[in-house]
């Protein structure tokens, strides 16, 4: 599961996720910008997951659906917090 072949994918994913986290924690952005960043971050996650599986020749409708569902769960959590806390 954690092979050298995958490490680059995980590093890129981690860097983008951390950058998204950094942006989401900025206080001087508007609410709509926060929501937009959250949406982009989740969209990137779904696309990156599909790309990752595509390079392993293991992409299928089931895999795409799994990433989409997890992406939606993630966006709903972020949106919920952004609406209440900010």
């Amino acid at each position: 599961m954690f092979t050298k072949k995958h490490i680059l994918y995980y590093i890129i994913l981690s860097v983008i996720l951390l950058f998204g986290l950094f942006l989401l924690l900025q206080k001087n952005l508007s609410s709509s910008m926060h929501i937009f960043i959250a949406l982009l971050l989740c969209l990137f996650y779904v696309i990156w997951g599909i790309v990752h599986h595509r390079f392993n020749h293991s992409v299928s409708a089931r895999i795409v659906l799994e990433y989409v569902l997890i992406g939606i769960v993630g966006f709903l959590i972020l949106n919920f917090l952004l609406q209440i806390v900010l």
Binding site: M1, L24, R62, L69, L76
Partner: protein, 297 residues
């Protein structure tokens, strides 16, 4: 009951060796349930903020106190609360609620300086800091101090006076507490400051640790829109963070269990990558832990 919970959370024969919660159908149900929770949450938050809302305690007096503590740290003269600037701040806050915008300039092009001039303050220098969604004065001043542009206003030697407004209302569809801080200086106030500086020499000004009873801070008598104290039975910020934390922790634990299970049993399954999912949910968990209340402009 025990068997059902085990079926939901632990990989076994009955759930095809993957916690039922992680199945596509269950994730879809989870999305629907979470949307329903959000709708109920927002409804109660809007209709009964005394039941589910934020406990807020913000006052102009405290804002001035914490701002002046920061200025004195940098050897700057403390700001004086100015009634005209407070009126300008209050009018700005009301204008933002009335025209439903979150910006320094109104949609009709009205500038912050227009409010200051309309309040009768003949400024030489003027500035504006905004905040919303905060629950206490110290957090607001801290957030302003942590942002370079707001910090520049907070620590500008060009300003001698300040005015605050703390107003409650609905902005962009959400109930919120809006804080407007307007800075300014006039020819007279700058001249007075310079003469005082010359007279004081290198004297250090010390503020008391609490806003009350500080000689440097004028008492606000009957000022409208300068204090906001609200109490809610359930703190919506804490509640939302707890819900998000519980959900994310559950998903992370289930994914870890699943990953360990398939590694141990050497089972091949055509599913998404566990590490991808774990990195994603861990990032969201960090967000839950690190997110602070409010935004500034």
């Amino acid at each position: 009951m025990k068997a059902w919970l085990s079926h939901l959370f632990l990989p076994q024969d009955s759930n095809n060796h993957r916690a039922k919660i992680l199945h596509h159908q269950s994730l879809a149900y989870l999305i629907i349930i979470f949307i329903a929770i959000q709708i109920v949450f927002f409804r109660i938050n809007t209709s009964s903020p005394q039941v589910l809302g934020t406990t807020t305690d913000i006052s102009a007096q405290e804002l001035l106190h914490y701002s002046n503590i920061e200025r004195i740290k940098y050897n700057l003269s403390p700001l004086t609360l100015n009634n005209s600037l407070s009126v300008a701040s209050e009018n700005k806050a009301k204008n933002m609620f009335q025209f439903n915008y979150w910006a320094h300039f109104s949609p009709t092009g009205t500038t912050p300086w227009s409010f200051i001039k309309a309040a009768g303050y003949d400024y030489v220098y003027a500035g504006e800091n905004l905040a919303r969604g905060f629950t206490d004065s110290q957090s607001i001043v801290d957030a302003w101090m942590n942002s370079p542009t707001h910090r520049a206003n907070q620590l500008s030697s060009n300003y001698t006076d300040v005015g605050y407004a703390v107003e409650d209302g609905t902005l962009l569809g959400e109930p919120t507490t809006l804080v407007v801080e307007m800075f300014g200086s006039t020819t007279q106030s700058l001249a007075k400051l310079n003469s005082e500086k010359n007279a004081l020499g290198a004297t250090t000004i010390v503020l008391s640790p609490t806003p009350e009873g500080t000689g440097l801070i004028p008492t606000l008598v009957g000022s409208v829109g300068t204090k906001m104290v609200k109490y809610s039975f359930i703190n919506s910020i804490l509640a939302s963070k707890t819900i998000a934390f519980a959900l994310l922790s559950m998903l992370i634990i289930l994914l870890l269990l699943d990953a360990v299970f398939i590694e141990k049993k050497k089972i091949y399954r055509h599913i998404g990558n566990h590490i991808d999912h774990l990195l994603f949910f861990s990032t969201l968990l960090f967000f839950v832990l690190l997110i602070g209340e409010g935004v500034i402009l």
